[in-house]
Symmetry: C2
Subunit: 84 residues, 2 copies
Amino acid sequence: MWIDLIGFMAAFLSTAAFVPQAYKISKEKTAKGVSLTMYLVMLTGVLLWETYGLMITSRPVILANLITASLLIYIIYIKVKYKN
Amino acid sequence: MWIDLIGFMAAFLSTAAFVPQAYKISKEKTAKGVSLTMYLVMLTGVLLWETYGLMITSRPVILANLITASLLIYIIYIKVKYKN
């Protein structure tokens, strides 16, 4: 479906933009650049998007926010574990 | 409508998480922390989300990506103007 294709491309690009940051953090074992509060606010937003996506059954919204939530949880885990 | 309310809360939180970064950049007139490429990839993704939101007529998706696109364009403008 055409509409879903646009949505999946959007999901791919907005998720892809996040990957280098998660990679950098995983390599350096530090996430000093950004605040924990900001990541927690973002995670709350992403989990609400996930809920919204499920309610309107939008597969691109569900997929994009599932991946973003996983990356955010990983970054938060690194931040808390290495206390930085 | 209940579903839209969840979407608007999601939009508010995911946009709010972006504001401190845009504010910091506007104050320091520098956006060295993050790469231009990443912002351009993100902007492309956000514009595709906007298209997707219009196609499925989801007001929260349209609103969130309109605000995020504006913030991204502003950050990209600062990055290009101050060449950093």
